[in-house]
Symmetry: C2
Subunit: 135 residues, 2 copies
Amino acid sequence: MSVSTSRLLPHTGDFQWAGVVPTAYKDSGDFQDVTRRVFVGDQEDLTAFHVRYFEVAPGGFTTLERHQHAHCVVGLRGHGEVVLNCQTHQMGFADVLYVAPWESHQLRNPHPAEPFGFLCIVDAVRDRPQSVTCD
Amino acid sequence: MSVSTSRLLPHTGDFQWAGVVPTAYKDSGDFQDVTRRVFVGDQEDLTAFHVRYFEVAPGGFTTLERHQHAHCVVGLRGHGEVVLNCQTHQMGFADVLYVAPWESHQLRNPHPAEPFGFLCIVDAVRDRPQSVTCD
């Protein structure tokens, strides 16, 4: 197995990073206008976690879902909201969210002015999310 | 075992968070003017990782150390530098650093104007750091 060495991913401004290419958020599901960047976890990284940056364009939203693994979200860019157990909370810069196992959650950006970007830190070994509804 | 439920830790401005108390960085070692805040990992959290926020005051520095576990640093506040394998690199907002196993590292703040604050994400189960020198 090859093993990655240390690396510095410089933020080049406007929430772009040298050497980090935005990819599709997911292959399929009920979401809109979300991109994914992987900072830790897409190489031969030896951490028990992955660190990703998701960006939700104005009007966009992630899948409303639940799963066994807990995870953590930290706001970096703009403002948005989290629908947590079907209740809505505002989120912005440096707000920290811990989502416990099986609690439903969705990140949304209702603001027209700016993308809502956040770090999402998850276990490297994790179960697949299940889509749910709040109605 | 009790299990923590989801929680939102709002950033109340100026890099303070509601319900999060800054603590000492370490009990002992060669460091100066560093505080630690734990966002994930100090409760009955079920993640394979811990998320902490460290802040290095002007003139301060973390321990120059190495360890088996890899980890990730993301700049949040101000500017500073990382000494990685005895080479110095600048770090600022949203710069992402992956530190591979056994690579020596130290975070420093040579800037008089503002603290240098960063997220530090580590495995929940990890070995104890060893102090090293670059001379």
